[in-house]
């Protein structure tokens, strides 16, 4: 448990990470670092997308499964780690570490 917390903290403290969110299987956010409205919005939208992506992957090959989903846009990059019980979303600004 502590490890999970630590890992979460570490992830959240990275440079460039705007926010993280943990959402349960119904799309209800459990933990978030973003504000409420954004959280709700993201959770609702991304949940459906993730389910769709997962469904797609599994339709092609039922033994396969979705492990990670990344959406890169002009401004941000959204990373989704789907799981059986919870989804973890991470929003970070899409830029790279300058050398």
């Amino acid at each position: 448990m502590a490890e999970v917390e630590e890992t979460l903290k570490r992830i959240q403290s990275h440079k460039g990470v705007i926010g993280t969110m943990v959402v349960n299987a119904e799309g209800i956010p459990i933990r978030t670092t973003l504000d409420n409205s954004t959280t709700v919005q993201y959770a609702g939208l991304l949940h459906h997308l993730t389910m769709k992506a997962k469904s797609t992957v599994r339709d092609i090959d039922p033994q396969n499964d979705l492990t990670f989903l990344r959406i890169r846009s002009k401004k941000h990059e959204i990373m989704v780690a789907p799981g059986n019980l919870a989804f973890h979303f991470l929003v970070k600004s899409s830029f790279y570490f300058a050398r």
């Binding site: 890992t7 979460l8 459990i30 933990r31 092609i60 492990t67 990670f68 990344r70 019980l85 790279y96």
Partner: protein, 847 residues
Amino acid sequence: MTPGKHSGALARAANAGAWRYRDFRGGEKGWWTTPQLVATMPVSPAGSHKQQNFRLNIATQPKKSISFFATMKATSVKGYTGANQSRMAVSKTVLIPPELKTAEKTNPSIKTMQVFDINGTDVTPRPLYHPDPLTGTAKPNKLLTSQEGSLGPEFISSHSLYQNTINPSMLGQFTRSVLGSSTVSKSSVSTSESIAEDLEEPSYKRERLTSFTDLQVIRAAPEKIVTKEDLEKNIEIILTETETLRFFDLPTVMVSVESEEAEKVTQRNKNYEVLCRNRLGNDLYVERMMQTFNGAPKNKDVQCDKIIMEDKGIMSTAWDLYDSYNAVEPLSLSVKPSVVESSSKTNVLPKDQDQRLPGSTTEKNSETSSLMDIENVILAKIHEDEEDHSDAILKSDKFHQDLFFMERVLMENIFQPKLAAYRQLPVLKEPEPEESEDFLESAKREEVEEESKKEEEEEIHAEESTIPANLERLWSFSCDLTKGLNVSSLAWNKTNPDLLAVGYGHFGFKEQKRGLACCWSIKNPMWPERIYQSPYGVTAVDFSIGAPNLLAVGYHNGTIAIYNVRSNSNVPVLDSSESPQKHLGPVWQLQWIEQDRGTTGDDKREILVSISADGRISKWVIRKGLDCYDLMRLKRTTATSNRKGGEKEKKDEALISRQAPGMCFSFHPKDTNIYLAGTEEGHIHKCSCSYNEQYLNTYRGHKGPVYKVTWNPFCHDVFLSCSADWGVIIWQQENVKPFLSFYPTTSVVYDVAWSPKSSYIFAAANENRVEIWDLHISTLDPLIVNTANPGIKFTTILFAKQTDCLLVGDSDGQVSVYELRNMPTALESGRGDIIDTLLGPKSNQPA
């Protein structure tokens, strides 16, 4: 049209005294259907009761054969007849009027009939059926009372039987029975049994049965005793034909134009038409209304619970089916949650919790009881539910794994250029739409630590060699935990090229702090994957070859511990701290060696060899615990035999220990029996595992403790050593004298390593510099020199196997990854005879 009535007075009208037995067999069918017949028949039992009115116009109808009873079965008539055996011999005639009107109801005028037989005896049948006044069914009486009328007119009796069925519902049965009765009555005498059978069927028949039994009883009484003479007497039986009974007459409505009646019919029709036309204004026809009584309607409502309809939809997908099929098989936890996920979208929280329970981990199971308790409750508790649940989620392994992935991906994002450089992949530029293809090419999925990753062999060096070779710092493994510690050893995992073990611990005795052994992954440079803490400084680490998850760690206090990196626990799998033969001094080097041990039967047994400051080179074997065998005891070489110019003599007597502390060792790449051991004295001994007392050879050249000795991976005659006397020496195996020596700076050289790619290149780490030497180019100067930040000493060095990268550990707890850039391309021949090429510049011998 059915014959509606009979008229009575038959018996008399019949042949006086003669009972005719009529054979009604084989007649017309279609006699039937006549409930009306029954209805109209008056019934009156003679005894108590109503009398029936039989009006038979006997004389009006010519006798015709009637055979309608053909299909009849035995009925009461039969029994009736059977009872009167004496009577059976008597025939009777029945004359029935041809036309019996249906609607006509005869008055139940009581007319008594009397029947007399030949002898004039009054054999008036008494009524068999005594209607129960309570039942109020007058009509059923008709059946049996008809029988009293006469035996003779069996017709009538059958009629009456028939008439008895007022109830149309019983008609069918009755008709059958009546029919049957008639036939039976005609057929044979002994048909009483069959009658009895039939009588069992409907209940009304039963009534008759009883009455027939009564009848039989009654009839039996006046039975005469049949004497022998009577039997032998000839009895005259006269069979006559009765008149045709017309039971149904449906006159045609069509008349042939040519028939006689045609005129009459047409006339009638015309009259009718005229009548119809006249009807309208005619006074004779008056419209009149009638009011009928309408029964009071009663509304009746029934109320039932609303039938709740629920729509449920599911999309059947390929994976859904797959999951369902697999779920039928022995429960696998991983399947069930996915089944849950793919199932319907009912969002009932408790239900989902229940469904999730099978997929939960053990930690969550303790919460499941609490979850079940809170199942159907208040909002406040539901909130609690969610919290429990969220905790459960957070605790679950899967979430942890997901986080792990997330972190990795994040790292990839952050370190992408560096990692790409490390892996020699095209570096991704700033994200622009045009670069998206590049991204797709180079984007890789993060994998779990235990899985090995395939390297991609893309060359990126497009730059010309105008820029001199340099070390480019990519990143460094460091975190808060490791800050301030001294990196003492580095080791790659043998199977997973991305896994690196780093041991942190100070060298010096005075500087001892806590120690740390970490496993880092290239994929996550910001946090180690495994952290093993210990109170003592770590001085040596090595991964096992045969079991790549075992990490051997040597401590400053002489303990050797073996950790299983698969688990996160801080407890080592094996520990040598209790072993009686543990090392008493710091374990300076550890290495897992695969040795051919033909004698023991195993092909290759892996042993752990350690060298420590107590002068022992030990071999550790994992059996039940860690068992130690000494390979060699490093003895201090006495001054007499090893006197060499410049070396100090060691005095025998004043020695505290006879052992020389061993600092490092290196097994021969080909022959694992031979190994080199460097001591604190500065000697390098070539030893063999077969002898644990004597050295095969001793190489003297260093004046200070030899910190590292390594064989050249390509050229097996050459080895390299570095020591605290600021020097790096290349030796040749046969030659006890140094081959080449380098004294680049006036600082202790902590570590040297050969490059895995070329036999000419090696790297040396001294206190404030990392030097890359390329012997092919120059033996005087290093090719690349990388200076450290002030205050930091480079302590360990390690080449990365597949890539052009170098790992350097320093005294601040950082392990920096450098990339060797613009290295001169390695010659193929460089892998072989380094000696030959170097034989030339032998002028570089140390002074």
